[in-house]
């Protein structure tokens, strides 16, 4: 019954760049919009003065809440958010006003001229404090709460044989759609219709909500078909830009486009809510689950936005995923002052599944039952009703678990616990649509059969990658006996398609498919009737195949038959079908009842490695076994499962939105650790199909359940691999190392210096005094008052490129031109200008200068590397000439595209990667001495120093700096009149800050022959493939004939403001034959010099281990290579 794979109908357009997204629509005559956002977390708006902005050139309209009807987004039940702030701002970035102007620059300039008077209000307690100290702040900071009892309360009276309790946190994740939010609207005054191009998977919910917010009828809003560059819940309802764009279009009577930048996309659009589940499960000794209590704590952000409904879904899932006699679920969703979250693929399911499925393994361990057996023991069987009232008509969860177990050779491999390699299994359950509102329980489809033989299916579904219209085409094609590519699809446009509820809650295939299948059956029936009349046979004697209608020896084309239909209009026979779920709606606050017409199930088996030295987890393979009924579109289904697994792995292993001062600190693809191609494992989707369910041909939803088991399976596999269970996602290396250390009483704690006050070191005293004072008010004073004295950087002017023919000429230009800076590949400088870090407008272009691209081995054996040599060229040269440490370091830097333009000098001179510095915080380095370092109290685990931190805690990000330091490289520095040689160790005076004068540039780097003859090894720990070093180590060794080390360089990157030479390590090794134990001891001997922040202490362990690994590899690689070649 497995269906054939078919190509997506739009494959040619989508792969050739011909598909139009909103940003590709013509812009001639279209106004550009920009938004004014709140700098405050909570304040009353006293006055908004737009007069200066309105007078700005090019401005066509300015709107604020006063220009809009007093309405709130409907938003899954809790309706609290207006389109623009009304009376009060509630989060950093809260939209207050919007401007439409002739150009984007004019709109943005005018935004700066809006004057808003605020009266700050006391902030709500943070989510962390709500977690730590229990609910506080009163009702006004609670977005919603629930207290639900499922099952019989008396079940709690008996104490179960065993009870396991834990806290499980699934942090905030960004949708990170590849297409930044963009909307275009225009008002058609003739017909009183708003034309809206807003990419979405939920066309009708956008139509409905936009109309509601603007006081229009739904049919006054036409949502046009436009490609959507990803959704995942972020655009299933309006809420970030659509209403504002439409309001500007109505006010100006012009077309208006609002397009967010990537910064805004990360910081100011919806996200997954931060979820904490405190779960306690009681079981009988035989493994039967008895009772469950849970407390769900949700961080909503400034408004409720789906947090309350997702919490509700979590509560139902907690009482439904396995049999349990009774469940008591309480929950609270807290308002905070962060950007409100919103719908996100899974909608509270992955968070609940994470808690449940990790706890199942804990229970199994306590009960000494195999974890898969425990799950099977408690899995729902077909025909059962869950404690929360879900009617499970069909479930193959048990087979999913058995299949997953077989796929990883569970029984054999599970016995090898603690080997560093682990396998873990977890399950998931998800709805196929929800029976909570009438909009979600009906869908229609229309088929137009043409006299020309054409078949057109019309569906209101969108396609942000979900492929729903393909499902419709496949089903219709089957009914009419043609290939799917013979069916044309008209979709999404509200004026051209019938109602479809959209893809939320995994109802796309279920609802769109049901409507299409029904329409296809009607069409097929009608065609047979027509043919029966024509051929004088019974309808069931008629067959449809390949566009021909046949009965016995009679055959005619479908088109000709359609032409003869009496009801055909203009040669079109139109068949319409409306599918209604005839099931009672689940209303009321008890949460009890059947939530969905059908439930999908999955069990995933994860295979991974845990590197005990660095804490790095590498997932090799995920077997994703799904009970999703019939798979109608196999290509689409596989894609949803593989993509869902990888998205969930992101949440499990790296993705985490970090807020400091309620402002997003890591809103970029370099800082927010999403999986790249090389980070993603092989995913093996396995579908256990069945066609008995109520969906179209028995199909169920699958794109959300694909996420549900993943994070727990990872945690369970990590536990199997190394014996620690981490329940606070994402499981980053710092957490793994901390857990390993805590679990091993024999491991020596590396704490850094403990003798701060005993040593005469005023600098260190000063730093420790500052760190002591920061949480005791100093940070607050500097943040609130000191930053008012921050030096203002002038905005970057339009840049001017200054050519130069030689290095010296370039240096002269730098000397002669004020506000100038050398420009290499531009991969950092151009970005740093956008980020306001560099404001020089006169860029002296180095890339055309031949002498700066020298790349050769000299006759002395030195390696000369021109400053403007690209990383790609150097990497290739180094690999070919035995400079393997350089080659391997370059291979870990950024991406192939960056390496093809980024230069060696540019890599060495790049700005620090501190996310506070990069993302506009008025920090010490941006604003000056009166400003705080936000890293001290903020998240500083990955890219901040553990040694030698000053007022600024950043590190030098260059990996080449680490390697070149170990290779005793010398920079040849070109000045306007002279050249000087500067050892790399003297190149830096601070994190990413060089000792070069403004009129100097790095002409070349020379690696001496002697160093090239040593064996040098580079090791790096990044958060993702190509990510910056959290820690890097480079060891360079020369060994004499007896095997004793004669020369040693041990350098650590990512650890200190500058590349750090661990001279204590070097001293311990020189003169000795490097044994494992000597290397281990020597590799930690630098750590007493460290003075880590609380979050960087793990780097002492990671750095030591990485250094030991580099030293060991270098020692094993004897004898050293032969004389360096020259080219």
């Amino acid at each position: 019954m497995t269906k054939p794979r078919v190509r997506h109908a739009e494959w040619d357009e989508r792969t050739s760049g011909r598909t139009s997204y909103v940003g590709d629509l013509p812009t001639f005559g279209v106004l550009s919009a920009a938004l004014l956002r709140s700098p405050h977390r909570r304040a009353r708006i006293l006055k908004i003065d737009t007069s200066a902005a309105e007078a700005c050139p090019g401005v066509r309209a300015v709107i604020s809440a006063a220009d809009l009807p007093d309405r709130h987004y409907t938003d899954n039940g809790t309706s609290d958010r207006p389109a623009l702030a009304r009376g009060e701002v509630r989060y950093v970035g809260h939209e207050i006003a919007a401007i439409a102007a002739d150009t984007q620059e004019q709109a943005r300039a005018a935004i700066e001229r809006i004057r808003v008077s605020y009266a700050p209000l006391p902030p709500f307690p943070s989510f962390e404090s709500q977690l730590k100290s229990g609910p506080s702040g009163g009702d006004e900071c609670i977005a919603g709460s629930l207290d639900r009892l499922f099952g019989d309360e008396r079940c709690f009276e008996t104490e179960p044989a065993i009870r396991v309790t834990g806290e499980y946190r699934f942090g905030s994740q960004a949708h990170a759609c590849m297409e930044p939010h963009t909307a275009l609207a225009s008002w058609n005054a003739e017909n009183n219709v708003l034309d809206l191009w807003a990419p979405t998977q939920g066309t009708r919910s956008v139509q409905r909500d936009v109309a509601l917010m603007l006081g229009l009828d739904a049919d006054q809003v036409r949502v046009h078909r436009i490609a959507a560059g990803g959704d995942f819940g972020s655009r299933v309802r309006p809420g970030d830009i659509e209403v504002v764009t439409a309001a500007l279009a109505i006010k100006t009577q012009r077309a208006v486009r609002l397009m967010l930048t990537r910064d805004e996309e990360f910081a100011h659009t919806k996200r997954r809510h931060d979820f904490v589940v405190r779960l306690s499960t009681g079981a009988a000794a035989d493994g039967r689950l008895l009772t469950r209590t849970a407390e769900i704590l949700v961080e909503s952000g400034g408004f409720a936005q789906a947090s309350v409904s997702e919490m509700g879904y979590s509560s139902q899932l907690l009482a439904s995923q396995y049999r349990v006699d009774a469940a008591r679920i309480q929950g609270t969703a807290f308002y905070t002052h962060r950007r409100p979250g919103g719908s996100f693929r899974g909608a509270g399911g992955p968070q609940a599944a994470f808690a449940l499925e990790v706890q199942m393994d804990e229970l199994a361990e306590r009960l000494s039952i195999d974890p898969v057996d425990l799950r099977i023991r408690n899995a729902h069987q077909p025909g059962e009703t869950t404690t929360a009232g879900w009617q499970i008509e069909g479930s193959r969860l048990t087979e999913c678990l058995q299949t997953a177990r077989a796929a990883v050779d569970w029984d054999q491999r599970r016995a090898l616990a603690g080997s560093g390699r682990g396998i873990g299994i977890a399950a998931g359950t998800h709805v196929s649509g929800v029976l909570t509102n009438p909009h979600a329980t009906t869908a229609s489809a229309t088929i137009d059969l043409g006299a020309d033989g054409s078949i057109v299916v019309r569906t209101g579904a969108g396609d942000p990658g979900t492929g729903q219209p393909m499902v419709a085409a496949i089903l219709v094609a089957e009914e009419l006996g043609v290939d799917p590519d013979a069916v044309a699809i008209v979709y999404q446009d509200t004026a051209e398609t019938p109602y479809d509820p959209g893809a939320g809650a995994s109802k796309g295939t279920f609802m769109t498919g049901s409507a299409a299948l029904g329409a296809g059956r009607l069409a097929s029936t009608r065609v047979r009737e027509l043919a029966a009349a024509k051929f004088a046979v019974l309808a069931d004697q008629v067959t449809l195949a390949d566009g021909l209608v046949t009965a016995g020896h009679d055959t005619m084309s479908l088109g000709d038959l359609v032409a003869s239909a009496p009801e055909a209009n203009d040669g079109i026979l139109r068949i319409h079908y409306r599918h209604d779920l005839e099931l009672p709606l689940l209303t009321g606050s008890s949460g009890f009842g059947n939530l969905s017409p059908s439930y999908g199930f999955a069990a995933h088996a994860v295979e991974l490695d845990v590197d005990r030295s660095t804490g790095r987890i590498r997932v090799h393979r995920v077997h994703a076994v799904h009970d999703s009924g019939t798979i109608i579109n196999p290509t689409g289904a596989r894609g949803q499962v593989v993509g869902g697994v990888v998205m969930a792995l992101g949440a499990a292993l790296g993705e985490e939105l970090v807020y400091v001062e309620d402002q997003l600190a890591n809103g970029s693809y370099t800082e927010y650790a999403m999986p790249r191609a090389a980070d993603a494992p092989e995913v093996v989707p396995i579908f256990l199909e069945s066609d008995t369910g109520p969906g179209p041909q028995g199909a169920k939803g699958l794109a959300e359940v694909a996420l549900a088991p993943v994070a727990a399976a990872v945690v369970n596999a990590v536990h199997h691999a190394v014996g620690v269970r981490i329940t606070d996602l994402p499981i980053t290396p710092d957490k793994v190392l901390a857990a390993l250390e805590a679990a091993d009483p024999h491991q020596i704690r590396l704490n850094g210096s403990r003798s701060t006050w005993r040593r005469i070191d005023p600098h260190r005293w000063w730093i420790h005094l500052m760190r002591w004072a920061y949480p005791r008010g100093l940070h607050a004073v500097l943040h609130h008052y000191g930053t008012r004295l921050a030096r203002r950087r002038r905005p970057a002017d339009r840049l001017k490129l200054i050519p130069a023919g030689t290095g010296q000429e370039a240096a002269r230009r730098l000397a002669q031109t004020p506000r100038s800076r050398p420009l290499g590949g531009g991969s950092d400088l151009i970005v740093a200008r956008q980020q306001g870090l560099r404001t020089e407008e006169n860029l002296v272009d180095l890339t055309g200068i031949d002498e700066l691209t020298v790349l050769e081995g000299t006759c002395d054996g030195d390696l000369r590397i021109g400053g403007a040599v690209t990383l790609e060229d150097l990497g290739r040269f180094a690999a070919a000439h035995g400079d393997t440490a350089i080659a391997s370091a370059i291979d870990t830097i950024a991406t192939p595209q960056i390496r093809s333009v980024a230069t060696v000098a540019g890599n060495l001179c790049q700005e620090k990667r501190c996310s506070y510095f990069r993302n506009g915080y008025p920090c010490y380095k941006r604003g000056g001495a009166s400003c705080p370092c936000y890293a001290v109290l903020g998240d500083h685990r990955f890219y901040h120093a553990a040694l030698g931190g000053h007022r600024c805690q950043a590190t030098t990000p260059s990996d080449l700096a680490t390697v070149f330091t170990a290779l005793d490289a010398v920079a040849v520095v070109q000045g306007p009149t002279t050249m000087r040689r500067l050892p790399i160790r003297d190149l830096y005076r601070g994190p990413g800050e060089t000792t070069l004068r403004n009129d100097e540039l790095i002409a070349e780097i020379v690696v001496p022959a002697q160093a090239r003859r040593r064996t040098t090894v580079f090791e790096k720990l990044g958060l993702y493939d190509g990510g910056f070093a959290m820690v890097a180590a480079c060891a360079s060794l020369e060994v004499d004939d007896d095997g004793a080390i004669t020369t040693c360089r041990a350098v650590l990157g990512g650890l200190a403001p500058k590349p750090y030479r661990a001279t204590d390590t070097e001293r311990r090794l020189i003169g000795h034959v490097p044994t494992d134990s000597l290397i281990d001891q020597a590799s930690t001997s630098w750590t007493p010099h460290a003075d880590p922040l609380p979050g960087t202490r793990w780097k002492l362990r990671a750095g030591s281990n990485l250094l030991a690994r580099a030293l060991r590899t270098a020692a094993d690689q004897r004898p050293p290579r032969t004389t360096p070649g020259h080219a």
Partner: protein, 172 residues
Amino acid sequence: MFMGRHRRQRGEPARTQSPTTTLTVNGEEHQVSAAADATLLDVLRDELGLQGTKLGCGRGECGACTVLVDGRAALACIALASRVRGHVETIEGLAEPAKALRAAFADTGAFQCGYCTPGQVVRAAGLIRSGAVPADDRDLRHQLAGNICRCTGYQAIVEAVRTAADATAAAS
């Protein structure tokens, strides 16, 4: 800076005050405005109307704007147009020669929303054409790591590139 200046009509003179520079795109020479801070992406999309190249981040982080410059994958969003000397190839120029690769994308399901797809295709087409597709899938994934995709989980992309590379190798 990302908003469209309207596309210059044929025959309409360029604004005289802004200097022009010559850019070779998909085999054709174009005189384009050379405002020093115009990026290659601005010029391709807004001036030449080549909108297949997408803006994902504007900061050289995501790869949606990948084009080939003299055969090397480069990021149009951080390349200053006036500094681009080589031959630029965009998805519009590569779509036809890379048809087999694109068909492989369709067969494996290597795109969903499609927004990153032109960049993926350009990157992969460059690799295949230069015979630089690594034999090992893990190395291939590393070569594709500069193009972020949020939908597919990458597996189908890797399969498609492998399929097309093998077919190209077999044909030559």
